[in-house]
């Protein structure tokens, strides 16, 4: 029971890191980016290829995955994404679906369609010897890393100058621009960091979520659930949504494996019916 809860939390934390970039993109520019999972996949593949082909240690791979995906995100933001911001949602959806299809086939072509395995270092394998509660070392590692990231994000958003600029731009891009903030630049940085976080999440999650070319489609709906249910105005909203989703998914798959992902989807629909703007939307915010 506690093990289940623990695994659920690890899974949820992972989902949060994967999806938080999407929350900001959506909240800041009102841009529906279905291709967010492609960045996570990129991070995962960077790690797997570096480790398996070049023998780079796992801990070195993680920052590389982050930086690599962030650069990729920045590049795509400047070239492809920026003209899309003012388009109708239908265009954005079509555009990002197109990117997903391209990413899937490109990876399939370059690496192959089989599931990729990650070889964790020895000190992350196995379980901690605690009575009654089986705690996987790797899951503990994920929770620690993700919690640290969450705290860092929260601190950046609430305590730094960049954070307050970002919050101002999310609340009202026009007024923020009128006050002299370079909203485009803020968005470029945020998009890159969000993509980088997705890449890091993909690298961390390759072991738990599995990594194959259909990754962006398989988890697209999960990321969207986190954002749609959690709302885009706070960072705690997506965090709580991700934790609930993670625990519900793990528990659901354990207790009623026949129903599979059924529970998660139903839960999402019910929540969205009751709170169409997400669980933690502020009153009056768009």
């Amino acid at each position: 029971m506690l093990t289940l809860l623990f695994d659920g939390i690890a899974y949820g934390m992972l989902l949060f890191v994967l999806a938080v970039g999407l929350a900001v993109t959506l909240g800041l520019m009102n841009f529906i980016n279905l291709a967010h999972g492609a960045f996570a996949m990129a991070g995962g593949y960077i790690t797997v290829l570096l480790m398996n082909r070049l023998g780079v240690p796992f801990l070195v791979c993680l920052p590389i995955a982050f930086v690599g995906t962030a650069l990729l995100g920045a590049l795509l933001e400047r070239t492809l994404y920026r003209p899309m911001y003012t388009r109708p949602h239908l265009d954005q959806v079509l555009f990002s679906i197109g990117l997903v299809f391209m990413a899937i086939t490109a990876v399939d072509y370059l690496v192959g369609s089989m599931q990729q395995n990650i070889h964790l270092p020895d000190w992350l394998q196995g379980r901690l010897p605690i009575e009654a509660v089986g705690i996987g070392k790797y899951r503990l590692f994920i929770i620690v890393v993700c919690a640290a990231l969450t705290l860092a994000l929260q601190w950046t958003l609430s305590r730094t100058r960049f954070g307050s600029r970002l919050r101002a731009s999310v609340d009202d891009p026009r007024v923020a621009g009128g006050l002299g903030l370079d909203v485009n630049r803020i968005f470029l940085v945020t998009f890159a960091v969000g993509s980088g976080l997705a890449g890091l999440g993909g690298a961390l999650g390759a072991e738990i979520l599995g990594l194959d070319p259909t990754f962006p489609l398989k988890f697209m709906i999960y990321f969207l659930i986190v954002v749609a249910v959690g709302g885009t105005t706070t960072i705690t909203g997506p965090l709580v949504a991700a934790l609930v989703l993670g625990i519900a998914d793990v528990a659901g798959k354990y207790y009623v494996p026949k129903l599979g992902a059924f529970i998660v989807y139903s839960l999402m629909i019910v929540i969205l019916m009751l709170r169409p703007q997400g669980l933690f939307a502020r009153a009056g915010a768009r």
Binding site: I32, H89, L90, F95, G98, F101, I221, Y265, L272
Partner: protein, 324 residues
């Protein structure tokens, strides 16, 4: 309704020459291209599916990422009916339409509230739930193997009893008749006051509500009708191929029909037909060249289409004009 308004509606609903030409081209394709019936049948089914989406997206302005839910539901309904109850195709088609319409009416409550994102999620969620259901209820649906062994009975027509043949001639004729009927009915629908009011609420929902249109009722109605048409398309697919598989609920199908519609153009009812022709021919061409990586070109096509602007894309003469 005042005389002026009636006249305006009638003027909008006048038959254009190209519409008549299109309606004439449908039976002509059956006579002139007998060897291509299988491909044409697929095109007609995709066109029907896209017309259904056009009612929701082009006329009512609802972006749906899960329209395959109704397509697949109709498909399984028709296949199960033929397998377990009776093999008559017309009755099966009726069941498929009815089942999908019922599903549409039930799920239409879900699209009334929230933003575009909420609706995207909810429609996607409904399709995913049905996918999971079809996958898990393997005693009924055959699970991941698909529902096999669907044998259709002969089609009872005024010309006698016609058996479905391997070349797909009968199947294509059957699909064409359904397509023509649906087109005709949908045309009546979108030029009626109801159809015009749908466009009003698409353009400005608040304003439409404040001049006294009941927005939720209209959305429920159009969603149900569109679901019924999608169900008909799915039913036709199951009946003419004798097979229903999980693929009918797949995300790819929802995304593809969006693309088909957008290529042909939204909001004038015939976009689905043109889009389906272009899409299927393109698919055939690219698949014969590189079957495995068709999705890459599909994705590239989507990206380029949107970057160019989908309104410009279907009007090639504007490509080299300066943007205003």
């Amino acid at each position: 309704m005042s005389a002026g308004a009636s006249a305006a509606l009638a003027a909008r609903a006048r038959w254009r020459w190209w519409e008549l030409a299109l309606f004439a081209a449908l039976p002509l394709s059956w006579f002139l291209l007998p060897g291509q019936s299988l491909l044409l049948n697929e095109i007609a089914i995709v066109a029907l599916f896209a017309i259904s989406l056009d009612l929701v997206l082009g006329y009512a302005g609802i972006v749906s990422l899960g329209h395959a839910a109704f397509f697949g539901f109709g498909s399984y309904a028709a296949a199960l009916f033929a397998k377990n109850v009776m093999p008559d195709p017309l009755a099966g088609l009726g069941v498929a339409i009815g089942a999908a319409a019922l599903l549409g009416a039930v799920t239409s409550v879900l699209i009334l509230r929230g933003s575009d994102l909420t609706r995207l999620m909810v429609t996607l969620g409904v399709a995913s739930i049905l996918y999971e259901l079809a996958n898990r209820l393997d005693w009924l649906t055959g699970g991941a193997d698909g529902l096999q062994g669907v044998v259709m009975g002969p089609l009872v027509t005024p010309f006698g009893r016609l058996d479905f043949d391997l070349s797909g001639r009968v199947a294509y004729g059957y699909t064409l008749v359904v397509l023509a009927i649906v087109l005709f009915v949908a045309r009546r629908l979108v030029f009626s006051p109801f159809g015009v009011s749908l466009q009003a609420l698409r353009d400005n929902r608040l304003r439409a509500a404040s001049i006294g249109l009941s927005v939720p009722l209209r959305l429920v109605a159009v969603y149900t009708i569109a679901a019924a048409i999608a169900g008909a398309a799915g039913g036709l697919l199951a009946q003419t191929t004798g097979f229903a598989s999980l693929d009918v609920f797949d995300f790819h199908r929802s995304a593809e029909v969006l693309l088909v519609l957008v290529v042909g153009g939204t909001g004038y009812l015939y976009g689905g037909i043109f889009g389906a022709i272009v899409f299927k021919l393109l698919h055939d061409l690219v698949s014969s060249w590189t079957p495995q990586y068709w999705n890459f070109w599909l994705g590239l096509f989507l990206v380029v289409l949107v970057l160019l602007g989908r309104h410009r894309f279907i009007r090639p003469w504007t490509w080299f004009q300066r943007r205003r």
